[in-house]
Amino acid sequence: MLRFILRRLVGMVFVLFAISVLVFLIFNVVPATNPAQRIAGKNATPQLVKSVEEDLGFDKSLPEQYLTQMKLIFTGELESYTTAHENVDERILEGIPATFSLCIGAAIIWLSFGILFGYLSAIRAGKLTDRALTVLSLVGISMPVFWLASIFLYYLTFKVELFPASGYVKLTEDPMEWANHLILPWVTLAVLFIGFYSRVLRSSMLDVMNEDYVRTAKAKGLNNRRVMTRHVLRNSLIPIITLFGLDFGAVLGGGAIVTESIFNIEGVGLYAAEAIAKQDFPPIMAITIFGAFFIVLFNAIVDIAYAYLDPRIRLGTSAA
């Protein structure tokens, strides 16, 4: 098992290297215009363009450019040139507590409700509960985040002042206010995933219910709840874990752009939105790599979780 984990981690490093090369090429080589000019901004002085060229290595060969830029990103020296030499890595680090608070909270909500609704839907398949939950899930999937967030803000903070309008309060400053400010963003971010996960779990469980070992479990005289939880649910979780790894990695890495923007949570996603609006390329590049890191990391964690959920995978890897 340990060897399996180590191999996954080494694989991760290679994938990240490939992603960084790709990101570098997309941002610096593919566009036809002068990269230094773009990075310096529209109204840049010739001196600024010159210093961008020197800092980021645009006067040297491509591999050297790549190395220079990666060195800046990973040593925390990358700067934004349009906003008064602001340090990019510092801004990302500042955004992490807010982004993580948003994403971890939302993930707990969407996993619990997604699994609960999917489970109820599957064990009541075809009945009223199932139909009601199906409609609810489809509504959840169909509502755009920006629309749902606006509706929440309008009715629950403006019309009825149930929640504070926006912003982020640090957990260390005031835990109650932290939660109070995050409830609406959590729900907003979670709704889409709840709908999606409950649909996936429902169909996965309905497949597993036809398995021979479920019939065996019934023939042993187990009660229905035990058959459903221990035998059906447990074997239906693999697709959920797969989805969760991808989705959670993506939102942690700054993917909750819309939610963070509308609720004005100063996290990585909001920083990405600002940078994109200003066409400020260094932060966009750094956040892309930052996001890729979490997606790759959670994919590795998902693989390890598979091995835990299904012993056949465990054996396959130790034998290889």
């Binding site: 019939r215 005289g221 009660n223 074997n235």
Partner: protein
């Protein structure tokens, strides 16, 4: 052994219908039989003859909103078809155990074999602790011939071979010392040497524990090894029933001849190709009028447009009953064609 003595299980006019998108399918259409303590009853037939549905219905595994179950299943006088689901759960495993065709897929891949056995014990005896349950599991695995049971109890199903998995399934079925074992094609997915071992095991359990057994199979070779009495099913009905000797030495229904003719025999010259029953079983949605075997039967005649009842047609053996209009003498003459029991060999 047969109808005379006391009855453990008594099935009367069991009918199981499924509502499907294409219409109602009467998978089991009036099946009756008794099972005496310690008896091995074989139910034989092709796929789709209703034998597995019959077996699963006995312990309520076919219950669903789309299923109509009629008739009676009595276990020691208790009517099982009228029991609620929790009451049936009490019966399953503790009174009637069931093992299935494919041991590869019948054990849950994510739990160890031991855990799955302990689960069966604890489903009925909540007071049994984990350690006690594990010890019992080791003992059971040992009793069904799994070597090194103490260590293998913590293995996952995929670490067991097919034969060992079927042994583990049987061990799991035995945990609560049931009075009846239903074995639904227990050897079909196994290779021949393992088949023999599993049959031997079932036979040993039947003898040593007096475990009454219902053996579902399409393989008459298996039946010959272990059964006391045989039911032959076709299109949801019993077409012939009798003792093992009656069915093997004086089969009355042309379908039974066909099944017997499909066996390889060592005491006769080997045919180029094994005889087969031509055609395929009828769709239960569109059963032919009269005898459902008529379209495949080379001996069909005018009377066959009416379905005969299951009756004893031989004066000297009242327990041997069948559904064929042919006179017993005519049957004896016809089935001896080419000096072999069975239908004609396919043109080669």
């Amino acid at each position: 052994m047969s109808n005379g003595g006391q009855k453990l299980l008594s099935v009367t006019d069991l009918r199981v219908g499924f509502t499907t998108e294409d219409g109602r399918v009467q998978a089991v259409d009036g099946v009756s039989f008794d099972l005496a303590p310690g008896e091995v009853l074989a139910i034989v037939g092709e796929s789709g003859s209703g034998k597995s549905v019959t077996a699963q219905t006995l312990i309520g595994l076919t219950r669903s909103p789309n299923t109509t179950i009629e008739g009676s299943v009595r276990l020691d006088g208790e009517e099982l078809t009228e029991l609620s689901e929790p009451e049936l759960q009490r019966i399953r495993g503790s009174e009637i155990a069931m093992i299935f065709q494919d041991p590869m897929t019948s054990l849950n891949p994510v739990y160890t074999v031991g855990k799955q056995i302990v689960e069966a014990i604890r489903a009925h005896e909540r007071s049994v602790g984990k350690a006690e349950g594990r010890a019992k599991a080791v003992e059971l695995l040992d009793s069904v011939g799994i070597p090194d049971a103490e260590r293998r109890v913590d293995d996952y199903p995929h670490e067991f071979s097919g034969g060992m998995r079927q042994r583990a399934m049987i061990a799991m079925g035995l945990t609560l010392e049931p009075t009846i074992l239903i074995a639904d094609e227990p050897t079909t997915a196994l290779d021949v040497t393992i088949q023999a071992q599993i049959l031997k095991l079932i036979q040993d359990l039947n003898r040593s524990r007096g475990l009454a057994t219902i053996l579902i199979t399409h393989d008459l070779g298996v039946v010959a090894e272990v059964a006391d009495r045989v039911l032959v099913m076709y299109a949801g009905r019993v077409v012939e029933e009798g003792t093992l000797e009656e069915i093997f030495y004086d089969p009355q229904h042309p379908y039974t001849w066909g099944l017997l003719g499909s066996l390889t025999r060592l005491d006769q010259p080997r045919p180029e190709r094994l005889p087969q029953i031509s055609g395929s079983p009828p769709s239960l949605l569109h059963l032919p009028k009269g005898c459902p075997f008529r379209p495949r039967c080379p001996h069909e005649f005018s009377k066959c447009s009416e379905y005969p009842g299951l009756e004893a047609r031989l004066s000297d053996s009242p327990s041997h009953r069948d559904r064929c209009w042919l006179e017993p003498e005519a049957k004896r003459a016809k089935r001896q064609v080419e000096g072999r029991i069975g239908l004609e060999a396919p043109a080669s």
